[in-house]
């Protein structure tokens, strides 16, 4: 069974036997509304589908990818105005105009994304918000589209057609979320959400992932905006760039379950029905209700309705590309060495932060088969040196050569893909994902899907996680989290492994375990290891050579025995020669 799985058996789609009847039932209800329902039912159905589609769009960038946006209404407005201009100025039929709106939204997101997504966290959220406000004001002053007075459309009220289109857009939104929840690409997006720097160190092109997610999440509001325009006879900037449209996406997704497949649908349907009932009694208080729902959800059940269902074992998230049993896996094929030159060469590297020179004209190399230890007192520049080699810090001058080619200009994820793997001082695992996914995300790059799965399975077994491969990482002990970082390093199948103070703060027993893993690294095809370490005793017998840093300068580079006997090193490390 697992043999077949390892060779890439087709992914079982409908494992849950209740899913197919549920899908048929949902389709039947959707179809029955325009056939048998009243005009009111069709309108209400359209409203629910509208917000389902918007919620699914928002969930892609803010739920799965972790970039909270309060400005998706920018694309909604662009879509609506594109449709407005197309149908009034040209003879384009409505459905085509709506598609045109989607195209404009996608183009706008593709242009804006690379700039906007340089911002992280709060800054992206506020930047997206500001962007929507700017567009709103711009359209108020845009003579072509009627400016602040708005534009009148040649009203063609065909509610059933709009309903059908909206249903298609909502379904597409669901499918896009399904893709994010189940595919390797979606796993990359979730890795960016969990820890963007660590994702980069695992070879994920974080910029590409973010921009693709942003573009897809812009497509849905742009299409929905166009369809809303179809259903109206009048467009004006305040209602087409209305920030409360984003509020509703946020509310519905949060309430249903952010970053989940079913959350946006559940949230939209439940809250739209509640809202409809509530509004009958309190017509003006919708915003108050939504605001309160956001607050209560975040404070009391931040996982939303889906997290409540999870407690009963319903709607559980399925780990990405995980079969029912852990595949046997296959060890990486032994590769012939590409070159006999040094694996890593650092040339005259200097890093300055303002007036502080953290790394000063440091040169050294790591040969094939070598284990190099980099030691030094606190603040000697060890971690900065590592961050510069791996692409997290830009050097002031100097060069880094990896396997004979300069990598100084490459981003961290490219270096990781070339075979440079690193660990972090504090283990940076993706807490909301499973052990399996943490390993798979690193194993995926440069491999076809079934090869990635087989390789990840081999790593999971080799490192000893076979018993807990489907466990969420947040349940692992700190020691296991450290071990998981090693597993991810192995999954990258690297030529060079850089370990940053992996033994700091560990007990003797834990240090022994780590030393055993480090010794075995070479068996797994790792050509060279460099480690930064504080605990000299723990590494002097592990390393072939030691480089000593003192205030950013290299003061020694020799065998451990000679380095530790060097008076200059003793002075730098212990401060006083008498010691």
């Amino acid at each position: 069974m697992s043999e077949i799985a390892a060779k890439g058996a087709p992914h079982p789609r409908f494992r849950n036997p209740r899913l197919l009847p549920a899908a048929v039932l949902a389709a039947a209800v959707l179809a029955a509304i325009p056939v048998f329902g009243s005009a009111y039912a069709v309108q209400f159905g359209t409203d629910i589908l509208t917000f389902t589609a918007l919620a699914y769009g928002w969930n892609l960038i803010s739920g799965f990818t972790g970039y909270l946006s309060f400005g998706q209404v920018a694309f909604y407005g662009l879509g609506a105005y594109t449709v407005g201009l197309l149908v009034t100025d040209t003879a384009v039929p409505w459905p085509l105009a709506v598609c045109g709106g989607g195209v404009v939204g996608v183009i706008a997101a593709a242009l804006l994304g690379p700039v906007m997504l340089r911002l992280r966290g709060i800054l992206f959220a506020l930047g997206a918000f500001g962007l929507a406000r700017i567009l709103g004001v711009a359209f108020s002053d845009f003579a072509l589209a009627g400016g602040g007075n708005g534009m009148t459309l040649p009203a063609e009220l065909t509610p059933t057609a709009v309903y059908v289109f909206m249903a298609c857009v909502a379904l597409a939104g669901f499918l896009a979320n399904l893709w994010f929840a189940r595919s390797g690409f979606g796993l990359d997006a979730m890795a960016v959400r969990e820890d963007e720097d660590a994702a980069g160190a695992l070879g994920i092109n974080t910029t590409k992932v973010k921009v693709v997610a942003y573009i897809l999440s812009a497509l849905f509001p742009a299409l929905v905006g166009g369809l809303v325009a179809w259903n109206r006879s009048y467009l004006d900037p305040p209602s087409m760039f209305d920030p409360t449209i984003d509020l509703q996406s946020v509310v519905f997704v949060l309430f249903g379950g952010i970053g989940t497949l079913w959350g946006p649908l559940l949230g939209s349907v439940v809250l739209m029905v509640v809202d409809e009932e509530f509004l009958v009694h309190f017509p003006d208080l919708a915003l108050l209700l939504f605001g309160l729902v956001v607050i209560v959800t975040v404070l009391l059940f931040p996982g939303g309705l889906v997290s409540l269902a999870n407690k009963r074992g319903w709607l559980l998230r399925r780990p990405v590309l995980a079969q029912s049993a852990l595949p046997v896996g296959e060890p990486p094929a032994a590769e012939a060495a590409e070159s006999l030159g040094p694996v890593l060469e650092v040339r005259n590297l200097t890093v300055r932060f303002g007036g502080l020179t953290a790394v000063n004209e440091v040169s050294f190399s790591v040969g094939r088969g070598e284990m190099l230890a980099i030691i030094g007192a606190n603040g000697a520049g060890k971690t900065t040196l590592f961050n510069t080699i791996t692409g997290f810090v830009v050097p002031t001058s100097g060069d880094v050569l990896f396997l004979g080619r300069s990598v100084a200009a490459l981003p961290a994820w490219r270096r990781a893909q070339l075979g440079m793997a690193r660990s972090f001082q504090i283990p940076r695992v993706m807490a909301a994902l499973t052990v399996w996914e943490n390993v798979l995300v690193a194993a995926r790059h440069g491999r076809q899907r079934h090869r990635a799965v087989a390789h990840a399975a081999w790593v999971v077994r080799t490192v000893g996680f076979a018993e807990m491969w489907r466990e969420p990482v947040s349940r692992l002990s700190p020691g296991h989290q450290r071990l998981l970082e090693f597993a991810r390093v192995l999954a990258l199948n690297p030529e060079l492994v850089l370990l940053d103070e992996v033994m700091a703060g560990m007990t003797r027993e834990e240090q022994e375990e780590v030393r055993a893993v480090v010794r075995r690294l070479r068996e797994y095809g790792v050509a060279a290891v460099a480690f930064v370490e504080h605990v000299i005793a723990a590494i002097s017998d592990l390393s072939d050579r030691m480089v000593v840093l003192d205030f950013g300068r290299k003061i020694a580079d020799d065998t451990p025995a000679r380095v530790l006997a060097d008076p200059a090193v003793v002075r730098a490390y212990l401060g006083a020669p008498q010691e």
């Binding site: 406000r133 108050l288 605001g291 729902v293």
Partner: protein, 287 residues
């Protein structure tokens, strides 16, 4: 003459902005929370001031301490309920607090709408002008700008000259460091939020003297405050004061040269331009 006129107007407007920005800066600095409901506290206080003035003709300047006290008390109640529980989420707190204050913002704006309606209001108080060689300075702008600047200065002195203020600053620089000095960081977060929103309310009572204000102005004021602290540098109270004055000047010039819409959109534009140009700087500032 025209330049002098625009500069005076800009500096006085900037004086009120200093208070708006420093109050957000205090909350952001100590709690690490961007209070998206900041503008709604300003607007609630401004609309209340206009309403109260309309009813009783009480000097709006007397309402400054009153609105401060009321909203300070509200902050004391809200912070432990809404924000303190999120501290346990660590790194995720940043985005979760953003969502909570986003929700709070809508609740408060809705309350403002229900209580005071959706119209733009202003307070016809100190309508006189002082003229000198063709430069006219509105008395209300002088009162608002000077008082705003004064309150911001008091905050600055309070933070730097009193033990309590120094504890607040310590908590904003390092939670662990402050804890190990025996500072009750939890109480500092409470104080920062309550004083911060209280000062936002005071700023609202002043701003309504010089700017027409409506419930829907809330978001714009929040962004304005955030842009100023982003430009001036988080925790850098002098830098923020300078940035507030510069933004006042820029708005006064843009309002004259291009018109009202440009004035409205300027903070948003600056926000995106500066963040796109110097993302590293802001990334550090925000931790």
């Amino acid at each position: 003459m025209l330049a002098a006129q625009l500069i005076i107007d800009g500096v006085l407007l900037g004086g009120t902005y200093v208070l708006v920005a420093q109050s957000l800066n205090l909350i952001f600095g100590v709690m690490g929370v961007v209070n998206l409901a900041h503008g709604s506290f300003i607007v609630l206080s401004g609309l209340f001031t206009a309403w109260f003035f309309g009813l009783y003709g009480v000097s709006p300047l007397l309402l400054v301490p009153l609105t401060f006290a009321v909203v300070f008390a509200a902050g004391v109640v809200l912070q432990p309920v809404l924000l303190e529980p999120l501290v346990k989420y660590g790194r995720r707190m940043e985005l979760m607090s953003l969502m909570v204050t986003f929700g709070l913002n809508y609740v408060l704006v809705e309350i403002a709408l229900q209580a005071f309606g959706s119209n733009y209001v202003t307070v016809p108080y100190l309508q006189g002008v002082w003229s000198w060689h063709g430069i006219t300075v509105s008395q209300s702008l002088v009162a608002a700008g000077a008082l705003g600047g004064l309150l911001a200065l008091l905050l600055h002195l309070g933070l730097n000259r009193t033990t309590f203020g120094k504890s607040l600053l310590a908590a904003s620089q390092s939670e662990v460091g402050a804890l190990s000095c025996g500072i009750d960081v939890r109480r500092m977060r409470l104080a920062a939020f309550a004083v911060g929103v209280g000062l936002a309310a005071a700023a609202g009572a002043l701003l309504v003297l010089v700017l027409p204000m409506a419930a829907e102005s809330a978001d714009q004021l929040t962004i304005l405050a955030f842009v100023i602290i982003a430009l001036g540098g988080l925790g850098n109270y002098r830098g923020v004061a300078v940035a507030a004055l510069l933004l006042g000047l820029a708005q006064s010039a843009m309002g004259f040269l291009v018109g009202g819409d440009a004035e409205t959109v300027l903070p948003y534009l600056l926000l995106i331009l500066f963040m796109a140009a110097r993302p590293k700087r802001f990334a550090r500032a925000v931790r």
